[in-house]
Amino acid sequence: MPSRFVKGVRRIGHRTINSLLRLGVASRFFVLVLLHSGSSFRRPHLIIKELFSTGVLSLIIILVSGLFVGMVLGMQGYDTLQRYGSEEALGVMVALSLVRELGPVVAALLFASRAGSAITAEIGLMKATEQLSAMEMMAVNPIARVVAPRFWAGVLSMPLLAAMFSAMGVFGGYLVGVKLIGVDEGSFWSQMQSAVDFQQDIVNGIIKSFVFGVAVTAIALFEGYDAPPTAEGVSGATTRTVVTSSLAILALDFVLTAFMFRGEG
């Protein structure tokens, strides 16, 4: 009879090996998706169709959340800035927070819970109802026909959604700061324009959301493709998509921020 300690160590070992194995399977899947992407680009209507469903699915929630986040930023930012008598900097604060961090991160989190979970559920159900098997038997590779177009649609729509989130957020900050509280409209916009740097802020924000798009979509597709073909299997995979991709977004954000903005200021 092994002691509890030995059992505990054994369990940790098991878990570690299983996670590593799954990570290996996931990486292999990701490489396969990239290798089989050619046909999606030769038939862009496949990507456009998925772009429509993933993008449009998330559009409303992204726009509404962006507006509210921007309005809250306007209030909180004004409250802090006016203590130092620099409330004209409100526009800069709102814009930089959104473009650098909140736009890419919050939009990606929303995208993971809205579109990511939908992708996992859809692929998982296609597998459970043998649609993927049927496709294989029709000599059509499901990774090329089903997975790759969804991957590229997710990757392309994420920066667009993040940009819309930021735009709505700036508008929300403007509504609260300028229209409601009465910050000077001219300095709100002009300071924003002069302080937001294209390369440093906008491009980096776009890179972030592109990376998040790759991560969320790849996780969602893998979880769906790997789901046990049962009702519990698919629902478990859907939950895992949201949890794993949210953690991945936050961890990647830390790493990317450290690289992009280190030594600045």
Binding site: M126, T129, Q131, S133, A134, M137, M138, A139
Partner: protein, 270 residues
């Protein structure tokens, strides 16, 4: 292998992990015929179809289709071969995000350069053959079980395959749909000059339409013959199956320890 057989199992064994499913199956499916594989649920019928389609490989032996050993084909060869096979999955497996029309058109669009107008005509012909030309714009979720099965049938024969495989085509259908599907299987086979394999546990319906029957039990072929021979057979297994008796060579009970012992009537445990 003789050229008259489109599909041959040559001493095929297969296991899932350590669990043996098929144990040395040899059988032949002659060209142009409709052959049934019968056996209880879980005896490995679907597994046999997957072996033919090359989705899994035999652990011993080989499956040959049109003279080629399936597991020796590379990915391209396998895909070439699958283009000449049609398969009706157990629950239809229609693509739920496409209309009936697009489901049937799927392989034509993937594998041919036909223009949309030619595809339209072909799809309508296939749908007409299964009586569902009028349902072309419906989505799979709007179809009844029998209709979905017919659409899947039209999709399976979209590219006029040389081999059509049916996995439980009769399961869960009402008596009218049952007869309709049965007749369609026979008619499509003869009209296309194809060869068909029908996997089923539905004895009466299939004995009406097939040319030859293999009975599978416990991983081996326990009986074979024409439908008439099967009906007249006095082999206990075939008799039990054809007449739907509850107990016989196929036990009603899943293997278990003795009933009395399980209920702890032995005294020792009480």
């Amino acid at each position: 292998m003789t050229a008259d057989n489109l599909v041959e199992f040559q001493n095929v064994s297969f296991s899932y992990g350590k669990r043996p499913i098929l144990k040395g199956i040899s059988m032949a499916v002659p060209r142009g015929k409709v052959v049934a594989i019968m056996g209880g649920s879980g005896c490995g019928k679907t597994t046999m179809l997957r072996l033919i389609g090359g989705q899994i490989r035999p652990s011993v032996g080989a499956v040959a289709v049109d003279g080629q050993r399936v597991h020796e084909l590379d990915a391209d060869g396998l895909y070439q071969m699958r283009r000449r096979m049609g398969m009706l999955f157990q629950f239809g497996a229609l693509f739920t995000d496409m209309s009936v029309f697009d489901n049937v058109a799927f392989q034509m669009r993937e594998h041919t350069d036909l223009s949309e107008s030619v595809i339209r005509d072909l799809v309508l012909m296939k749908l007409h053959a299964v009586g569902l030309r009028g349902a072309r714009d419906l989505m799979p979720s709007e179809l009844s079980g029998g209709m979905a099965r017919r659409v899947a049938l039209a999709r399976a024969v979209a590219l006029d395959p040389m081999l059509i495989m049916y996995d439980e085509p009769f399961a869960g259908l009402d008596p009218i749909s049952l007869g309709v599907i049965g007749n369609l299987i026979r008619r499509l086979n003869d009209a296309l000059g194809a060869t068909s394999i029908v996997v089923t546990h539905d004895v009466h319906e299939s004995l009406e339409i097939v040319d030859y029957v293999y009975f599978v039990s416990d991983g081996v072929i326990v009986a074979q013959g024409t439908p008439d021979e099967m009906r007249a057979s006095d082999k206990p297994f075939v008799h039990q199956f054809v007449h739907g008796e509850e107990d016989g060579p196929v036990p009603f009970h899943y293997p278990a320890s003795a009933y009395g012992e399980d209920l702890r009537l032995g005294g020792k445990h009480a």
